[in-house]
């Protein structure tokens, strides 16, 4: 097969939804395999590897993101039902929830505020454009919700998606090291903080390290989603009119 044949074959294949879907699953499997191979080194995050591989492929073949998304949307769609499904691990924490509800609500509101206020202030001081500020503000909540909030306050949902995922990756890779430095040993507090600051990617990571941390992370993530979705748009309109 000559070079042009391969190019033509790619042009044909890239328009099929099957291709985008297959690439997504294969890239993630490669990422997950590497993660396992490196003894679950947080730096080898399967999401980072998958995104990097696919982005490289799209850039090097000149395939538009929209074409890729025709297939990838089937995976993306599941974010909605998966968000609903978080009710189940949340329900499993019912005992803790009942025992420490005021503390938990306070912790979530605190973490949500620190995350969004410090983000906006820091990015503003460093000269970010208004659209970038609004896109960054909800970066600690899970992607579909963050994109909705960004849209609401004048951000760019696509940029928000990128920032949210980068936040999750930073939290999942550097977070445990920083919490070790701070001598934090309570798995519940560590997991909780992971869920508040680094949403689903942090929660996935927390589950892999410790079951208790994972459950608290899922709990904090679910509540933070609610807390941020309820408070951030109002705060934003209040401050910026």
């Amino acid at each position: 097969m000559g070079e042009t044949d391969i190019t033509q074959l790619w042009v044909y294949l890239s328009t099929k939804p099957l291709t985008g879907l297959t690439i997504t699953l294969v890239a993630y499997s490669i990422g997950f395999w590497l993660y396992q191979k490196t003894d679950r080194n947080p730096v080898c995050n399967p999401v980072v590897i998958a995104i990097a591989l696919i982005a490289l492929l799209l850039e090097s073949t000149g395939t538009p993101y929209a074409t890729y998304f025709e297939g990838a949307q089937f995976v993306h769609f599941l974010l909605g039902p998966a968000t609903v499904a978080l009710a189940v691990p949340l329900f499993r924490q019912m005992e803790t929830l009942k025992r420490a509800l005021p503390v938990i609500i306070f912790g979530v509101l605190f973490g949500s505020l620190v995350a969004s206020v410090s983000t906006v202030v820091l990015a503003w001081v460093l000269g970010a454009s208004p659209e970038t500020l609004a896109s960054l503000a909800p970066k600690s909540v899970t992607t579909p919700v963050a994109m909705g909030i960004a849209d609401e306050i004048g951000g760019v949902p696509a940029l928000t998606a990128v920032c949210v995922i980068a936040t999750g990756i930073v939290g999942a890779t550097l977070g445990p090291m920083v919490m070790n430095l701070a001598r934090l040993k309570d798995w519940r507090a560590r997991g909780f903080a992971m869920g508040v600051a680094a949403h689903g990617i942090g929660t996935a990571r927390a589950f892999q390290v410790n079951e208790t941390a994972g459950a608290f992370s899922g709990l904090a993530m679910g509540l933070n989603t609610l807390a941020t979705a309820l408070t951030l748009p109002f705060l934003w309109h209040w401050f910026f009119g």
Partner: protein, 122 residues
């Protein structure tokens, strides 16, 4: 299994409808999460098929972020323009929120029975 997935989708659908109808800033899936959670509290013992379906959806939760993350290729210009504030906010704010929340919660949560013993401190 299908019934469980249908229930999850029904919750999401009702969530979307409520969000749209009352023009709420809260996205549909989050309201759906709330609806399912209320349902679980009322039912007390969630059916096994439902918990299995939910667990299956959540095992590879991070995979579901890949398609949106690849969207980075559409934002390269904006990222180039605002790379410093974006990078600084991503790293500094995320870690600040995490450490402060962890410190606060380790002080406030009721004393654990045994939380240091399990898992490795990685």
């Amino acid at each position: 299994m299908i019934a469980a997935f249908a229930l999850i989708l029904v919750c999401q659908l009702f969530g979307e409808v409520i969000s749209e109808l009352f023009d709420l800033p809260v996205p549909g899936p989050v309201i759906g999460l709330g609806l399912l959670f209320i349902g679980l509290i009322v039912k007390r013992r969630p059916p096994r098929v439902l918990t299995d379906a939910a667990d299956n959806l959540l095992i590879h939760f991070s995979l579901l972020f890949v398609p949106a993350g690849v969207g980075v290729v559409t934002q390269l210009d904006r990222l180039r323009g605002d790379w410093l504030p974006i990078t600084a906010a991503l790293i500094f704010s995320t870690l600040l929120a995490m450490v402060l929340t962890a410190l606060l919660m380790s002080k406030l949560l009721p004393k654990p029975k045994a939380s240091v013993s399990e898992g490795e401190a990685k």
